[in-house]
Amino acid sequence: MGILKSGKDTMSDEKIIELYFARDERAIKETDIKYKKILLSIARNIVRDPRDCEECLNDTYIGTWNSIPPARPKFLLSFLSTIMRRTAINRFNGGKAQKRIVSEFTVSLSELDDIISQENDMEKEFEKKELASAISNYLRTLPKREMYIFVSRYYIADSLPQISKELGCSISTLKRDLVKIKNGLKKHLEKEGYIL
């Protein structure tokens, strides 16, 4: 069974969103049936502790319940995963202050160090959304496979062996691809006027 549930046993995204709009609590139940597995996998890559993952999942459902309406997401899963990632990162940062957690998320973040500077001078000059838009634009120019690698590694925070297994390639090939993608992103961001 894949990580994404689909078929007769799950409700369509449109219907689930309608349930949120109708303030029907079945919306959360249906979301849980359809997307629990994938949302937990995102949380697990960022915060290792299963109890933290469960709490992140609950926070995500509450966040979704509070956001829809007024929001009417075009892509429900993207919407949910963004909330989950935000929640998990907040929990991770909270936990990090107490103790050092070595997770795949920290490893994936450290890999981005070589394309950014450690200076904080310019960090407030760019809006988060603008940067996200610039990165999104860059990702749109990539072939599907490369886009998948980037999102798997830096958004979902999947491990390298896991991604290589999914794509059916070796880890060294994947590392080469990641270097190529990161260099491409660096060039793209510099071209857009970002100082790295």
Binding site: T82, L109, E123, L131, R140, Y148
Partner: protein
């Protein structure tokens, strides 16, 4: 730009990117499931081939037990006992056709002692497998695992067909002399049809396309003929012999 800045930006990637990611992930999973299904099917086919070969050998051995003319079973052809041609009465020369027949049989026996079934079969299996594999590669896009599986299927199909065609050849030839060969003839025919049919179906993506099926079938049969022809040519080059047929 700091790491946090970049991390937050990545969290806020536009929804279509994330949606495309999940769509591609789904695609990969479906592909993986399909491949697993295909592998299971290929294993099933390989087992079927082995079963056909085993059944053919068992059938061949059973009928050989009752066959006074066919002693050693397996792949080797029946041996011919040569009776000396009676000498013509004094003063008469033997008929020309009798001399020719005798020479012909002697040449074949001499050749047979050099050649045997083994090298011919091995050569045919290798070459026809290669031809079939090349054909399937040209028809479809395969990854490494598919190629490996197809290689095994090709060898097994080729082996079954080669084995059955040799059986069929001798069975038809000998059924003029012995009705026991009729059983062998039928089993060999069934084996040949089975191996050709299964391989043709398997090598095709669109199994309802009868033109492709016929083309595949012809290439499959031709591959066995071609390999035998190449073998005969090589044999004649190195052993100075006379070719004695495709099987």
């Amino acid at each position: 730009m700091t790491r946090d800045n970049l991390t937050n930006a990545i969290t806020e990637l536009e929804p279509d990117i994330i949606d495309n990611y999940f769509a591609f992930k789904n695609e990969l999973e479906n592909k993986k499931r399909k491949m697993q299904k295909e592998t299971m099917k290929q294993i099933g086919i390989a087992v079927s081939f082995l079963l056909v070969i085993t059944i053919s050998i068992i059938l061949g051995n059973i009928q050989n037990e009752f066959n006074p003319y066919y002693g050693d079973g397996g792949l080797s052809e029946p041996s011919f006992s040569l009776k000396p041609i009676p000498s013509p009465p004094n003063g008469l020369t033997p008929p020309l056709h009798q001399e020719n027949l005798s020479d012909h049989i002697m040449i074949n026996i001499k050749k047979e002692s050099i050649r045997g079934d083994g090298p011919l079969i091995l050569f045919k299996i290798a070459l026809s497998s290669l031809i079939m594999l090349l054909y399937t590669i040209l028809k479809k896009e395969y990854n490494k695992r598919h190629l490996f599986n197809m290689g095994i299927i090709s060898i097994l199909a080729s082996f079954t067909l080669t084995y059955c065609s040799i059986k069929l050849y001798y069975a038809i030839f000998n059924s003029f002399y012995n009705y026991f060969y009729t059983v062998e003839c039928l089993s060999a025919l069934a084996g040949s049809v089975f191996s050709v049919g299964v391989f043709s179906c398997f090598a095709l993506k669109n199994r309802t396309n009868w033109k492709k099926a016929v083309a595949c079938l012809i290439i499959f049969i031709l591959s066995v003929f071609i390999s035998a022809a190449v073998y005969n040519i090589l044999f004649e080059l190195f052993f100075d012999g006379v070719s004695y047929g495709w099987a």
